[in-house]
C-alpha cells in the first residue's frame, strides 16, 4: 500500500493546483484520476474571452502539468476511487480499482456530473451529453457525427456548440427539450432566456450584445421571449431556438432524426407544427451538478444549494470541511469555471500545508482566498447569477456545524 501525506482525488484544475502548492511546501501527494489523461474537464475546454483571447484547456493543462512535473508530483491516471475509509486511529485509506493508498489527508476534487434532460429516444446510440461531445471533439479529435442538434439551451451548451462549430462539425440548431416531468427548467422559454441573457455579452453579434443591456429588465425579457424570432437567433450562423422544442429522437438502432415543434412562451406545444430533422447525433444539455459521492461516502454533511447546482458538502473558504483531514475543491464545491476551480485548488493546497506543517503560509493563504474571490468577480461567464449568496450560505452552515 502506497503511503503519502495527501491523496488528491481528481487531476483537474483544482486537484493539480492543490498538488503544486503542497509539493512546493514539501508536503507529499499522490494525485489519482480515472480519466486516462490529466486536466479534468478543463482539458476539453476551448472558448474565446471577451478580449478575443482563447482559453485553451490543453494549453492550460500543460502549464499546470509542467509545474507539477518540475516538483516531481506523482499523478496516476486510469485509477478509479471507490471508497475513502476512515481509520479508527486517524488517517484514511483510499480504495481504488488498482491499489490502496494511505494518507492523513484527502482532497476530494472530483468535479461535476451532467444533469440529464431525458426525452423519448434519448438512449439511442448517437445521443450523448453535451460534455461527451466536447471531449470527443477537443480531446480525442473525433467527430461526434456528420450532422447534429443540441437539445438544451444554456451557458454550457452554447459554449460547446461553438466548439463543435469551430471543429467543422455541422450543427443544425440548438433548441429546448420538450416539456415533461423532468425538464421543467430547461423547457421553459422564459427561464432559458434569463439564462441566455447572462452570456449575451459574449455574442459576436452587436445586435445581441446591445439587446442584452436592456434585457436585464425582466419586462424586456418577457417581450423578447414573446417575440423571439421563429427562425431562432443566429449565433455564429447557427439558429438558437427558444420557441422550438425537440419532442422525440427517432431511430431504431441509432439516431436517425429528431422531431421538433413550436412552443408557446410557457413551453406548451403548438399543435400541427411538427418538423422532422435528419441528424446522426444529438447532444443533451441539462446543466451540471457537483459529483459528491465520495464526500458522502466519507460522511461529510451536505446542504442543497440551487445556486451551486445541487447537493454540496459543507466547507469554508479555505476549502476545509467538517471532517478533519478532508478537503474539497473545484466543482464539487459548487459549479463555477475552471479558473475558479484552479484558484480554489491553490487555496486547498495551502490550507493543507498550514494545517499539517509548521510552515507559516497564512499570508499566502489569504492571497489565495483573495484570488478566488477576484477570479469569481472577473468571470465573463457566470453559471448562476446568485453564486455569491450560495457560497455564503454554505460557509455559514459549515461554521454552524463546526461550532456545535
Amino acid at each position: 500500500m502506497k503511503k503519502t501525506d495527501v491523496v488528491i482525488i481528481g487531476a483537474g484544475p483544482a486537484g493539480l493546483s492543490a498538488a503544486i502548492e503542497c509539493k512546493k511546501h514539501d508536503v507529499d501527494v499522490i494525485v489519482v484520476d480515472e480519466f486516462p489523461k490529466p486536466g479534468g474537464r478543463m482539458l476539453g475546454q476551448l472558448h474565446q474571452e471577451p478580449n478575443g483571447e482563447w482559453w485553451n484547456g490543453i494549453k492550460e493543462t500543460d502549464i499546470l502539468m509542467e509545474k507539477a512535473e518540475e516538483l516531481n508530483t506523482t499523478i496516476e491516471c486510469g485509477i478509479a476511487v471507490h471508497h475513502i475509509e476512515t481509520l479508527p486511529d486517524g488517517g484514511y485509506t483510499v480504495h481504488t480499482n488498482k491499489e490502496r493508498f494511505a494518507a492523513e489527508n484527502v482532497l476530494i476534487a472530483t468535479g461535476a456530473a451532467e444533469v440529464a434532460a431525458p426525452i423519448p429516444g434519448w438512449t439511442l446510440p448517437g445521443v450523448m451529453s453535451i460534455g461527451a461531445a466536447q471531449v470527443m471533439t477537443n480531446v480525442h479529435r473525433v467527430k461526434a457525427g456528420e450532422k447534429g442538434i443540441v437539445v438544451g439551451v444554456n451557458v454550457l451548451s452554447a459554449a460547446i456548440a461553438r466548439e463543435l462549430q469551430l471543429a467543422g462539425i455541422d450543427l443544425h440548431s440548438m433548441a429546448l427539450p420538450a416539456k415533461n416531468a423532468v425538464s421543467e427548467e430547461q423547457a421553459h422559454p422564459q427561464k432559458v432566456m434569463d439564462g441566455l441573457v447572462r452570456i449575451a455579452h459574449l455574442a459576436p453579434s452587436k445586435f445581441i450584445q446591445f439587446g442584452s443591456k436592456f434585457a436585464k429588465n425582466s419586462f424586456v425579457r418577457n417581450i423578447a421571449t414573446k417575440f423571439f424570432p421563429k427562425g431562432g437567433v443566429k449565433m455564429w450562423g447557427m439558429p438558437i431556438h427558444v420557441r422550438k422544442a425537440v419532442t422525440k429522437i427517432n431511430g431504431t438502432e441509432k439516431v436517425e432524426s429528431v422531431t421538433m415543434v413550436d412552443v408557446t412562451t410557457d413551453g406548451e406545444i403548438v399543435p400541427n407544427t411538427e418538423q422532422h430533422i435528419d441528424v446522426d447525433f444529438v447532444c443533451i444539455a441539462g446543466g451540471l451538478y457537483p459529483l459528491a459521492e465520495l464526500a458522502a461516502a466519507v460522511g461529510l454533511p451536505f446542504q442543497y444549494s440551487e445556486e451551486l447546482g445541487g447537493h454540496v458538502p459543507l466547507h469554508n473558504e479555505a476549502m476545509e470541511t467538517n471532517v478533519a483531514g478532508i478537503y474539497v475543491a473545484g466543482n464539487i464545491t459548487g459549479i463555477e469555471s475552471a479558473k475558479v476551480a484552479r484558484a480554489q485548488g491553490k487555496a486547498a493546497g495551502l490550507s493543507i500545508v498550514k494545517n499539517t506543517t509548521e510552515q507559516n503560509v497564512t499570508a499566502a493563504l489569504q492571497d489565495a482566498l483573495h484570488e478566488v474571490r477576484e477570479t469569481r468577480q472577473a468571470a465573463s461567464i457566470q453559471f448562476h447569477p446568485r453564486i455569491e449568496e450560495g457560497r455564503s450560505a454554505i460557509n455559514t452552515s459549515f461554521q454552524n456545524k463546526a461550532t456545535n
Binding site: E34, F35, P36, K37, R41, L46, W54, N56, I58, G78, A80, A113, E114, T123, L124, P125, G126, V127, M128, S129, G131, A132, A133, V135, M136, T137, N138, H140, R141, V142, K143, A144, E146, L166, A167, G168, I169, E253, K254, L291
Partner: protein, 126 residues
C-alpha cells in the same frame, strides 16, 4: 467516406502523426491511433453501438464519455465491465460488446419457476 477525425483545427492545430494501433471489436479488426480510447477509436470507425442492454437488448453507445454513466462498458481481453470511454486502445486488444443476459424469471425460460406469491401458494398446496 469523409474522415471522421478532426485533422485540422483553427485553434488546436493539426493532429500530429500518431502510431496506428490495430484492435478487435466483436471479432472484426479495426485501426485506431495511439491515445484513442476504445470509444473514440470505434466512433472514428463509424461504430456507435457498444453494447445491448442486459434485459431489453436495446442498443447503447456512449452517453457521458467520461466514465460516469457506464453505458459504454465492454469486455476487454476477457475482463468485463471496462469503460470504453476511459480505456486507451492497445495493439491486439480484444474488445467484445455485452449482449442480452438470460433472465431467470423470464416467461420463456422456465415455465415451472415460482414467480409470484400465487405461484408459491399453488406449489405449497401440491
Amino acid at each position: 467516406m469523409t474522415s471522421k477525425r478532426i485533422d485540422n483545427h483553427p485553434v488546436l492545430g493539426k493532429l500530429s502523426d500518431k502510431e496506428k494501433i490495430t484492435f478487435q471489436f466483436d471479432g472484426k479488426t479495426y485501426e485506431g491511433y495511439e491515445n484513442d480510447t476504445i470509444a473514440s477509436a470505434l466512433l472514428a470507425n463509424g461504430i456507435r453501438t457498444l453494447r445491448k442492454h442486459e434485459n431489453t437488448g436495446n442498443p447503447r453507445g456512449i452517453y457521458c464519455n467520461i466514465g460516469h454513466c457506464f453505458e459504454c462498458r465492454v469486455t476487454v481481453d476477457h475482463q468485463s465491465n471496462i469503460r470504453a470511454c476511459l480505456t486507451p486502445i492497445q495493439e491486439n486488444m480484444i474488445v467484445e460488446s455485452g449482449q442480452v443476459q438470460p433472465h431467470p424469471l423470464h416467461p420463456d425460460n422456465d415455465t415451472e419457476a415460482i414467480r409470484t406469491y400465487e405461484d408459491f401458494e399453488q406449489w405449497e398446496e401440491e
